[in-house]
Amino acid sequence: MIFATVGTQLPFPRLIDTLNGLAKDIDEKIVAQVGTTETDTSASSWRNLDLRPTLTPDEFGTLFQNARVIVAHAGIGTILSAKRWGKPLIILPRRHALGEHRNDHQLATAQQVQSLTGIHVAWEASDLAALLAQPDLACATQDQSPSHAALIGKLRDFILA
């Protein structure tokens, strides 16, 4: 199963449209959390997906942990969840120019995390097909990144001073 999530704040039709298009050629169920605002307007065109307007935290956790791979916007919560539960995560950053967010901070987030094990960046929606077709995508880990280790070091030095 593929689990797609766009977070709770904004719709992300570019991601969901792309997945809906790919679903016909993929022999794998796609469950998509799309947010309430979107289901009213566009849901009728997303016939190839198992749509979930909203999910409780428990439902979200279960789907996340049971999925083969998670596809999402470049949200911090999603990235931390992938690390916590050790899952492969594909992120498509929202673009300001396409009206998908107030600014391009998701591009900055994607650049920051692209070197992490198990976080796979689709810079364009057209990159999604190839990433989803990979049979053994690396899983995210709870290992400390160099940046994380540096933060811990700074805090520790301050605490012990």
């Binding site: 911090i76 931390l80 900055a108 987030t109 920051q112 280790a149 540096a150 933060l151 805090l155 301050f158």
Partner: protein
């Protein structure tokens, strides 16, 4: 582990959700110290094996009575615990804990949530006045705000 006399007493506080999750990722920095965890959501500390822990009333800027209840709980904890260090990732209860802790002589740390990739959070801006160490988890945000940057929990 260092002896009791040399270990520091830390109060580590975060609201439920992303703030708490990030605070948990900073736990290696507290190794060997005496930590008391505070959060706003019952059940959360158990999920992360964070002990000892206390639940405090949540509050935000729009609810004056809740702010008083939260401040009262924090004040009593600070008087009883007298922490050496207070650290928070957010939100408003964390700012109040830093302010009250500082009154009682604690050194204070604010690490703004990594979700704030554009500018310091609202509570982060408030925390500037009460944090000895005031940090963003984004280099460009830190530079713009005059905060410190060392890394991020990502």
């Amino acid at each position: 582990m260092p002896s009791k006399t040399s270990s520091k007493k830390i109060i580590a506080i975060a609201s439920g959700g992303g703030h708490w999750q990030q605070l948990m990722l900073m736990r290696p920095a507290f190794a060997g110290q005496q930590v008391l965890f505070l959060t706003t959501l019952a059940g959360l500390p158990e999920q992360f094996d964070a002990t000892p822990a206390r639940i405090i009333p949540d509050c935000n800027r729009d609810e004056k009575r809740q702010i008083l209840r939260c401040a009262n709980a924090l004040l009593r904890l600070m008087i009883r615990e007298r922490p050496d260090v207070v650290i928070s990732t957010g939100a408003l209860p964390g700012v109040m804990a830093l302010a009250l802790g500082r009154l009682f002589g604690a050194r204070t740390i604010w690490v703004d949530s990594v979700a704030n990739a554009e500018e310091m959070s609202m509570s982060g801006k408030l925390a500037k006045r009460v944090a000895h160490l005031w940090m963003s988890q984004w280099d460009h945000v830190a530079q713009e705000a005059g905060a410190e940057y060392a890394g991020a929990v990502l």
